[in-house]
């Protein structure tokens, strides 16, 4: 395929993916916004007012970036895993397999679709958060780059889950038993400086901590993790997960008989 044809193929997958989640916005966009609004009300307003400051900020202001990032992570993942598995289950992944699209473009199309949903939900949650707090972003470049790159990490992870999944149950196991605990323990609600040394060390094994803190730095200018370390971890995850996804598609695992 020429570069122009490759671009058209990529754009086609992206449009299809965006239309897919936009068509069912009541299922894809609204629920995370409602969930995050409840977090803002309960943790931020009701409980947060009793907690006091965290790292020099009102508790509500402190948790807003983490909650936005939590919505981005879960939605990027959910979009790709459900879409890719749906394509497999209903066999319309074959529409792409019989075409000359390289596997790298199939990955790029699905992942960009996941990023699009992550950003769409992230924007909605940010708008809702503006009702509870005054947002004064510290560094827009860090905010935008972190949200896109983190979204890419979890979209890739969702795609790999989609390749391995053999039933609809398999697409909810990782979000329930891995993603949610890691996100809650990833410094969304607290600074790890509050933890004993051992648990601080353990927390640093959690990649989500790096992503949440980089994003928080973009909003508040404070972080438990050096910015370069966050970008390095995110970069490494993108490269490794992309390599695994490409290997799986090239091998035909789960998609070719």
């Amino acid at each position: 395929m020429t570069l122009k044809e490759q671009y058209i193929a990529f754009e086609t997958i992206l449009i299809k993916e965006v239309l897919r989640f936009a068509r069912i916005w009541v299922q894809t966009i609204v629920p995370p916004v409602i969930t995050m609004s409840l977090y803002f009300v309960i943790f931020g307003n009701l409980i947060g007012s009793q907690i006091g400051d965290m790292d020099g900020f009102r508790y509500m202001d402190y948790i807003v970036p983490g909650l936005i990032m939590m919505a981005v992570i879960t939605n990027s993942y959910a979009n790709v895993v459900s879409s890719f598995y749906g394509c497999k289950f209903h066999h319309h992944i074959e529409e792409m397999l019989v075409s000359p699209i390289p596997n790298s473009l199939i990955i790029a199309g699905f992942v960009t679709g996941g990023i699009a949903r992550g950003i769409a939900v992230g924007l909605m949650v940010t708008l809702v958060s503006a009702l509870f707090t005054d947002l004064h972003p510290h560094n827009y470049i860090v905010i935008i780059s972190t949200v896109i790159l983190t979204s890419a990490v979890f979209a890739l992870a969702g795609l790999i889950n989609g390749v391995f999944a053999k039933s609809f149950d398999d697409i909810s196991i990782v979000p329930t038993f891995v993603l949610t605990p890691l996100t809650y323990l990833g410094g969304v609600f607290y600074t790890i400086s509050m933890l004993p040394d051992f648990w601080q060390g353990m927390s640093k094994l959690n990649p989500i901590l790096y992503m949440v803190n980089a994003f928080r730095y973009g909003f508040l200018g404070v972080s438990d993790i050096e910015l370069w370390a966050s970008y390095t971890i995110i970069g490494v995850f993108i490269v490794v997960l992309y390599g695994i996804a490409l290997y799986l598609l090239n091998s035909g695992y789960g998609i070719r008989r």
Partner: protein, 307 residues
């Protein structure tokens, strides 16, 4: 004549060690209308899956218009259009979008995709339904949608895996007309079907596979000449209690108003009518008992299984 498809010693063993294809070699010439027949589980869909990249082969070589799928599958894929046996589109998408997206996967701009969607959906009688979700279509419409989708990138080789399964006779005939026209305009067509009348009516060459092996590969004409007898059913004007003993042995009474006669190809049947007239038996109408190809197909497959 150059080939559209060249297969050499193609083998496929699935993960459960089931050997679906056992070294099949096959050639389909450019411009041909080719029938690929075989009983259920013979390996037809596996063969088609390998050609269209949905199944990975275990051994052998496949060339599509000289493009070796091991060396340049993307180039080969551009030349193939596939109409699979199972519906494999997103049932929640509008049908026009399904066609335009398929064009996009081949690098065709959306504007051109929409133009071609209009062309093929109109030709296949689906243009009025373009805004409908695919799940709202009838079975026959879904089959036609898959044909339109397979044609959107203008392939030179169209592979149809049971395209008329479950389609009513009127639509089936209109699909035949469409496919004949397509073939006349230069598209090579490979057809698998369980309606042998369809294969006999449309195809010039034929291959029969059974249990993963090629058991026949010839022209339709040559194959049909192998059939040395044909059975006709005669519907009688008036009921007949018993067949007169003096009538030829090849005649059999089936019921009060039906007789059957088995005649060889080089035998005239005029004398039979004369004999029947002598006994005052009037024939109202006459028809073939079975489709000729069906008769041969059963003969070949049964013989192969016995061997």
């Amino acid at each position: 004549m150059s080939h559209a498809l060249l297969i050499e010693k193609l083998g496929k063993v699935y993960g459960n060690r089931f050997e679906a294809l056992k070294g099949i070699s096959l050639r389909v010439d450019e411009g041909d209308f080719f029938a690929l027949l075989g009983p259920n589980g013979a390996g037809k869909s596996t063969l088609i899956g390998i050609i269209s990249s949905l199944v990975t082969k275990t051994s052998g070589h496949v060339k599509i218009f000289d493009y070796d799928i091991d060396k340049d599958f993307p180039a080969a894929k551009r030349l193939i259009g596939l109409v699979p046996q199972e519906f494999n589109f997103n049932v929640f998408e509008p049908i026009e979008e399904i066609i335009v997206n398929q064009a996009g996967y081949f690098g065709i701009p959306r504007k051109v995709g929409f133009e071609r969607a209009e062309q093929y959906l109109s030709q296949l009688g689906l243009w009025d339904k373009r805004r409908c979700q695919a799940r709202e279509l009838s079975g026959g419409m879904k089959r036609r949608l898959m044909i339109a989708r397979a044609l959107v990138h203008r392939p030179r080789l169209l592979i149809l895996d049971e395209p008329t399964a479950g389609v009513d006779i009127e639509i089936r005939r209109s699909m035949w007309t469409f496919l004949r026209e397509l073939n006349k305009n230069g598209t090579t067509i490979i057809l698998t079907t369980h309606y042998l009348e369809e294969a006999e009516s449309l195809c010039r060459n034929i291959a029969i596979i059974d249990e993963g092996k090629l058991i026949e590969h010839t022209s339709m004409k040559r194959l049909l000449t192998q059939l040395d007898t044909e059975t006709f059913v005669l519907d009688l004007m008036s009921p007949l209690d018993a067949l007169p003993a003096s009538l030829p042995d090849c005649l059999h009474r089936i019921d009060d108003t039906t007789l059957e006669v088995e005649v060889s190809h080089n035998e005239s049947i005029n004398y039979l009518f004369a004999e029947l007239s002598k006994h005052g038996i009037e024939v109202l109408s006459m028809r073939n008992k079975t489709n000729r190809l069906e008769q041969l197909f059963m003969h070949i497959v049964t013989q192969d299984s016995a061997a």
